[in-house]
Symmetry: C2
Subunit: 351 residues, 2 copies
DNA sequence: TTGAAAGCGTTACCAC
DNA sequence: GTGGTAACGCTTTCAA
């Protein structure tokens, strides 16, 4: 008895055992008091809760999850936190998870790190679900997750044929929308600034854009940005506009690149949109700010987050057994960074 | 035997027991193979690792942490993800935690939610440390954490007398620096746009700013922003500049408010800095972008993150027993959003 | 409704 | 160096 007392002292944590001893009931009773569905008398529950509060007892969710096999932790993998697109995504997801009693375990792979490398680490944490943004996983890892019954949802990446759920903006359609819009504004010499070469998002936007332009017999300049950063957009814009045959519109693979491009051009005396129209993709909040007032394809962030949670099993309906891809349409936001190249229209629109 | 086989089947998870059975060794051996410091023969370790990989076994860190009392999870509490200040902080912290084998459990309190309410939830997860940004905790909660030996560090909040570690930029000094700088540029009618009334960061910046101005006999206009948002800055700037006696410089409590203010003024025909100088506080990456080119007090983000980790016990040195506050000095970034009001100087500086 | 006891998947201690 | 066994703090049968 002396020994057990000392043991309790050593561990500062108050356990259910301790509460039980104080109340003179069994430890199971303490557990029941904290389980909403357990059968326990109201009186007992209040008594337990009272002394629990007094002793500062809180159930250890780690120990609990060993039995329940649920940690209430969802892992979110983001390539970086510098691009506002990802912070918006993180915000939307976290805001939905918390009211459902779930916590967000954040993971930002270091530049060279593949998602496949970090997935085992996440699985070790016995997370209840994994959301992977702008990256894909090998089919081997996908199978490993499936075997453990850990739901995985890819966000902003669509991999046909992969046995995994995915939610993505329809990038091809978005590229087409933008092409159509710029054609409607009588642009005849558009350019596209690509992001990372491997990124399917960038490639799909490009193919949709270029494809639609070609249907109208309009050729597209392609400039490699390198990556989805402010600086990449900054440099690419200058390269394009300092050509002997500069474009009359530049469509950037993402908003953050467009911001860099706009800043670069303005710093060099160009007027937007008079000298060149600028468009982006994503529709981050900043794109609506007066400084940029950027025409862009807006991701339906909240719909996407809803879809992700549904595929993770948070929805009312059953999660589809077979891998499903939810392709969501973006909305073109017609703003001040683009303008019609037709003199008549210009007069009408801009007075 | 039949029964146990079925049990294993049911739980898709591969356990150490399973690996042990396959290899014909004890389960302890499996555990040792995964413990770097354990005494085990090289040959055995390779054998264990091989079959573990084959069976897809990964130690369950939840079960492990029940014994080790370490989860390798650090909780980070941020008021929001819309202000780039917090995403930079989150980025810096996560980037340092991951190489140390620690994961980030993110928590963003909903608007009405107090940190004191959510702290118990975090503690239930048995996190190894808690980083709380721009908020404080009651001394009761601080004691609760201390009792559990869970280190807590406040970031961007300095609470004298509270028994808790804190890392913060010296906001009073920052306010003074900015006052001195603007006085040096011969501003005679400065204004300060405050953030949330309760926020000590905003209040300290204000008192430093106003105090230093007063030493030179310069009065300061005070405008309440309401909160640290783009929109709040937008509205406050307009209110100030539409006064009959507008200021010649506006110092915003944070960069994000300054961005809103600059956009508002430019949209209304004001030229920055010719009509009014604009300054911010935080030094987020965007402040350096050409569109804003904002004069601001730059938080030493990496030093702050280093200091936080040190106080959490990640440093080489022992963590101070008594609550320590690390007050770090910001650096004034002299950029294009401010200019001298002295004609002579103007000619010199701007050609 | 309550208590006793058997897990959950590890680590840690003790023999050998 | 290795195996057996007792924790870790909880949930969940099964009896009473």
């Amino acid at each position: 008895m002396n020994e057990s007392t000392r043991a309790k002292r050593q561990s500062q944590r108050v356990t259910a055992d301790e509460v039980a001893r104080v109340l003179g009931v069994s430890q199971s009773t303490i557990s029941r008091a904290f389980t909403a569905t357990a059968s326990i008398s109201d009186e007992m529950r209040t008594r337990v809760m009272a002394t629990a509060a007094e002793l500062g007892y809180q159930p250890n969710v780690i120990a609990r999850s060993l039995m329940t096999r649920r940690t209430n932790i969802i892992a979110i993998v983001l390539p970086n936190l510098a691009d506002p697109f990802y912070t918006v995504v993180l915000d939307e997801l976290t805001q939905r998870l918390q009211p459902r009693g779930c916590q967000t375990l954040l993971f930002v792979p270091t530049p060279g790190q593949e998602v496949d490398e970090i997935l085992p680490t996440l699985l070790q944490y016995q997370v209840d679900g994994i959301i992977i943004t702008s990256a894909t996983v090998s089919s081997a890892m996908a199978r490993a997750c499936a075997k453990r019954e850990t739901p995985v949802v890819l966000l902003n990446r669509y991999v046909p044929g992969l046995e995994i759920h995915a939610v993505s903006c329809d990038n091809v359609a978005g590229g087409r929308q933008m092409a159509e819009f710029l054609l409607g504004q009588h642009h005849r010499r558009p350019a596209f600034v690509a992001g990372q070469l491997e990124a399917s998002t960038s490639m799909d936007r490009q193919s949709g854009f270029v494809g639609r332009l070609r249907e109208d017999g309009v050729e597209c300049l392609i400039e490699q940005g390198g990556d989805h950063t402010y600086q990449a957009g900054f440099d690419a814009a200058l390269r394009l506009m300092l050509r002997p045959d500069p474009p009359d519109a530049i469509f950037f693979a993402s908003d953050i690149m467009a911001f860099g491009g706009m800043d670069a051009l303005r710093s060099n005396g160009f007027i937007i949109p008079d000298d060149v129209s600028i468009a982006g993709f994503n529709g981050v909040p900043m794109a609506a700010w007066a400084s940029y007032d950027l025409t862009t394809i807006r991701h339906p962030f909240s719909h996407m987050a809803d879809a992700v949670l549904e595929l993770l099993g948070f929805g009312e309906t059953e999660v589809p057994q077979s891998p499903t891809t939810r392709l969501i349409h973006g909305e073109l936001m017609d703003r001040g960074s683009t303008m019609s190249r037709s003199p008549e229209l210009k007069r009408l629109v801009r007075g």
